[in-house]
Amino acid sequence: MLFKTIAKSEFKRLVEDLLKEEEVIGPKKIGEREDGKAIHQFLPVQSYGELDLEYGRTEYSAKTYFLPYKETLSKYKFSNDNWQQEIEYRLKPRFMIGLHACDINALLRLDKVLARDSYPSPYYISRRRNTFIVGIDHPPLEDCFCRAVGADVVTQGFELYLTSLGDRYFVSINSDRGFNLLKKYAIHDVTDEDTQAYLEVRREHAAGQKPLNLHDIPNLLDIEFYSDVWRQWGQKCLNCGSCAMVCPTCYCYGVSERVSMGGDEGEKSRQLYSCNLKDFACVAGNHNFRPDPATRLKYRYYHQHRGFTETFESPLCVGCNRCGRVCLAGINPPAIFNDLQAEGGA
């Protein structure tokens, strides 16, 4: 990887140039909580001022731009006794600025399923390839646990990655298109002093995060499959599916079709779903393979932390704890892991 530094004022000029020509999406402050803390979302921005790169966390993850909540898969035109299927994959390119390591790692984990495994999804790949990603380092938040799931470091999956060193950014350049863009601006070679400062920032970030012990979690999920822990947490679960909506890696979906009012057109679309919703595993004849909330909640953890690990050697979870924060019933991964470990005598 190439490393350069760029003055923050020069980076601002770069973003302003992009804004003239392209769609730029970044963390934008959209409101305040009762306690005065800002609420951020990844949204298209019109000016550099709208971009808040010092943000803590967006409520929704960057996934929204790669797996939209609703997406048209194909369209149908009906005529006489026949129909024609139309599929469109083309997209306008766009820039996403200000993704944290967890969001980029989430995309890398989604890549494993949607872009690299059998049946790669052209819808997803098209969105991925048409998005220029600029990541940014951030001091750890009070409740996230990305270090425990190995999601605090990114080595791929982005174009540029920024680390703030006072008045300048330390830039990791990971692609030729990143380099091509950057070389039109005043960039500097990395000095020993920059490297020292960069490592110091990284050390501070690493030390700032509360450690979370995930010892034996994949095993415990299997051994404690019938544990009372699930009943206790399952009783609280409201089956609203919010956790999956904000999760940067939950990718399950449902497909539905509809016919236009005129009856001459049809549409097949996919909508993100949640395994906590009641009808998730309900089959024809109304047999539900996971009828109670506890089984569904357990399944979500089982898939994220055991199933995905079995197949892809890392948990699906990137430790952002968005699900924990959004949950109205206070269900959060650290608490569940803690209970599981206590149950397992760890």
Partner: protein, 302 residues
């Protein structure tokens, strides 16, 4: 307006340029492409089930469409939805396929109202298959309960067409009530084939039922085979697997030589939507055909 970032057109990827081919899991173009197929015949089986004979319209696509016994397709009625249906015909017929469909939900009801000549979409074939080659030289028990005869017909046809590959062949079929039996018109044909033991049983018989009354497991009492050289294929409701596979285990048939076909909700067939997950295994990609050992190791499988 000049663009800083060149749009990336995925349809220019090499994989997108290649012609469609059988089960190419890496082919991007295959992802959402449906083969247009015409319903050529509709055969009424019972009040709830009909057999649809469909033919892929495009000559090349039909010729390229090959599958193996136990695989399924996604059947789409544009504008209504898509459902996973196991292929119920012999794979030697390629793109002429038979689908046995019970009227239970929206799409199946639409299909039951459809007439000959209607055009549906077919995506697939998907999933694993019964390892018929591996069973050569062995006895085969083909066991079905209820609608389970639909997926079992593909291996039955394969065994009949290649009878010389196998030793003793048993077809055992049972339902709750005798009037729910499927493909009744075929029993005589199957039974007349020398060397195929067909046994049909119903838990309850209607007035004119002359056959046997009892449970599917009762039929296993009279099966006399060397368990070391026997394979079993079991299709039916989960509760049936449990009892039948337990019986087969008691008979001494090893778990890795019993194959079952599982049923789950599916929205994609390609290991993406997660609807069919059992624990963390995709029924659509790693199944629907599993050996019994694998099923025993899957949490909440049956």
């Amino acid at each position: 307006m000049k663009q800083i970032l060149e749009p990336y057109d995925i349809t220019r990827e090499r994989e997108m340029m290649l012609p469609l081919d059988y089960n190419r899991r890496s082919q991007l173009k295959h992802y959402d492409k449906t083969y247009k197929a015409e319903i050529t015949n509709i055969i009424r089986l019972t009040e709830m089930e009909k057999l649809f004979q469909v033919r892929i319209i495009d000559d090349t696509e039909r010729e390229r469409f090959t599958f193996l016994p136990g695989q399924f397709v996604m059947v789409e009625v544009p504008g209504y939805g898509e459902i996973p249906i196991s292929i119920s015909s012999s794979f030697t017929h390629k793109g002429f396929i038979e689908l046995c469909i019970r009227k239970v939900g929206l799409v199946t009801t639409v299909l039951h109202n459809a007439k000959r000549g209607c055009k549906v979409g077919i995506r697939g074939p998907f999933g694993t298959h019964f390892p018929m080659e591996q069973m050569r030289g062995n006895n085969i028990l083909l066991i079905a309960g209820g609608l389970g005869l639909a997926p079992l017909r593909a291996p039955i046809f394969h065994v009949i067409e290649n009878r010389s590959y196998y030793k003793d062949v048993y077809i055992l079929y049972g339902t709750k009530e005798s009037n729910l039996l499927l493909f009744t018109y075929q029993y005589e044909e199957w039974d007349r084939i020398a060397d195929i033991n067909l046994r049909v049983i119903a838990e309850q018989g209607s007035k004119d039922w002359k056959g046997e009354i009892g449970l599917i497991t009762d039929l296993l009492d009279e099966v006399d085979v060397d368990p070391g050289e026997t394979n079993a294929i079991v299709c039916g409701p989960p509760v049936m697997f449990k009892f039948v596979c337990q019986r087969l285990t008691d008979m001494g048939i090893p778990m890795h030589r019993m194959f079952v076909s599982l049923e789950r909700r599916m929205h994609c067939g390609m290991g993406k939507c997660c609807r069919c997950n059992i624990g963390s295994t995709y029924t659509c990609v790693d199944g629907p055909v599993f050996d019994y050992w694998t099923v025993m190791n899957l949490q909440e499988a049956i």
